[in-house]
């Protein structure tokens, strides 16, 4: 972790030496991630353009979404180089939202059931 945080840069004479914990990484890495984000976005748009349906569509959408989110978080937001203390403090709480999603999915199914049963399909 320590090795990756301090990439020495040669071409900037005026710059004072950077502190060891500065988030400074090679431009090449950013450009590569940038390129991949374009490719992944194009892929997720193609899912809709081609008109894939059903489980294949949903799986691909979520796959491309997670890959893009991971790249942005890890590289652009420098999470990959942060210490575990910060990583877990930030990434674990949003996972609890998944519990909320589960609860509300079950609630939505129940609402749908009652609407079908008592309103005969009205909204």
């Amino acid at each position: 972790m320590v090795e990756t945080t301090a990439h020495a840069k040669v071409g900037a004479p005026a710059a004072p030496p950077l502190p060891a914990d500065t988030q400074h990484h090679p431009v090449k890495l950013y450009l590569a991630v940038w390129g991949w984000l374009f490719v992944l976005s194009a892929c997720s748009y193609l899912v809709d353009y081609i008109g894939l349906q059903g489980w294949l569509r949903w799986t691909l959408i979520v796959l491309f979404m997670l890959l893009k989110a991971g790249l942005i978080l890890a590289i652009f937001m420098h999470m990959a180089w942060e210490r575990l203390t910060l990583i877990y403090a930030i990434l674990l709480p949003p996972l609890l939202v998944m519990v909320f999603v589960g609860i509300m999915a079950s609630e939505a199914n129940y609402t749908l059931l009652t609407r079908v049963l008592y309103y005969g399909g009205g909204n």
């Binding site: 500065t22 008109g51 937001m77 210490r83 009205g122």
Partner: protein, 243 residues
């Protein structure tokens, strides 16, 4: 506990401490000091703010899921709703795709701005931030166009011509809140770019609001916010527009 561990000057710097990630994790939380070692308060607070914002957008998306799952009326097909006629043919979702590419481009220029900021290359950093702001403004402009188009077609928070009435409220709420975030980001980018280009972080000029001297780390903290806005759009794009 030994003598040396009581003396902060004698303790090795946080980054150089030995042990595995988990060991450091436990040590960080048990240190009776700052838990987020090597992270400035400004950056830590931005992360905490972004965490709270995650919950806000999480709640919007969960509400949208609940509305869409529980309605007995078919949900309007976003692929058709957001199609544009280009050269006589209907291209599905094309405006949203362009908006996605614009926002990703802005994320790239922001990442490079952070990079050049740490190299103390204030001209490059400042110009890249202005480019980021321009992409952001472009995005908001396209969103305004999209809203106008949909409102003209009769979309309201309580009704729309194509199906489930909850479509309108979900759409305006989610994209509206995201657009607000982008707008605030653009304003902050312009303010910060001005400071960077003027060389405030080299001359030590004090901020007009905080009366404090800024550091180049401000660009990274601004970047965290901007990338987060892009991150949220990734989820909105997947769940609202593609699903």
């Amino acid at each position: 506990m030994t003598e040396s561990s009581l003396d902060p000057a004698a303790a090795p710097p946080a980054q150089a401490r030995p042990g595995s990630g988990w060991r450091r994790f436990a040590a960080d939380w048990a240190s009776d000091q700052t838990s987020f070692k090597g992270v400035s308060w400004g950056k830590a607070m931005m992360w905490v703010f972004l965490l709270s914002d995650t919950f806000v957008f999480g709640c919007f998306l969960v509400a949208y899921m609940t509305a869409r799952m529980s309605t007995t009326v078919p949900w309007p097909n976003p692929s058709e709703v957001f199609a544009l006629e280009i050269g006589g043919t209907e291209v599905p979702l094309i405006l949203i795709a362009i908006m996605t590419f614009v926002l990703i481009s802005s994320s790239g220029t922001m990442a490079l701005a952070v990079h050049y900021g740490y190299l103390r290359d204030r001209r490059k950093a400042g110009r890249l931030m202005l480019a980021t702001a321009l992409f952001g403004a472009c995005f908001v402009g396209m969103q305004a166009f999209e809203w106008t188009k949909l409102i003209r077609e009769g979309v309201r928070p309580w009704t729309n011509p194509w199906g489930a009435p909850q479509f309108g409220s979900s759409f305006f709420m989610i994209t509206g809140f995201h657009g607000t975030h982008v707008t605030i980001g653009v304003i902050f980018l312009l303010v910060l770019a001005r400071k960077v280009l003027r060389g405030d972080y080299e001359t030590g000029r004090r901020g007009f609001f905080t009366s404090r001297r800024g550091r180049y780390e401000a660009i990274e903290i601004m970047g965290l916010y901007w990338h987060f806005v892009d991150l949220v759009w990734v989820f909105i794009f997947a769940f609202f527009y593609l699903w």
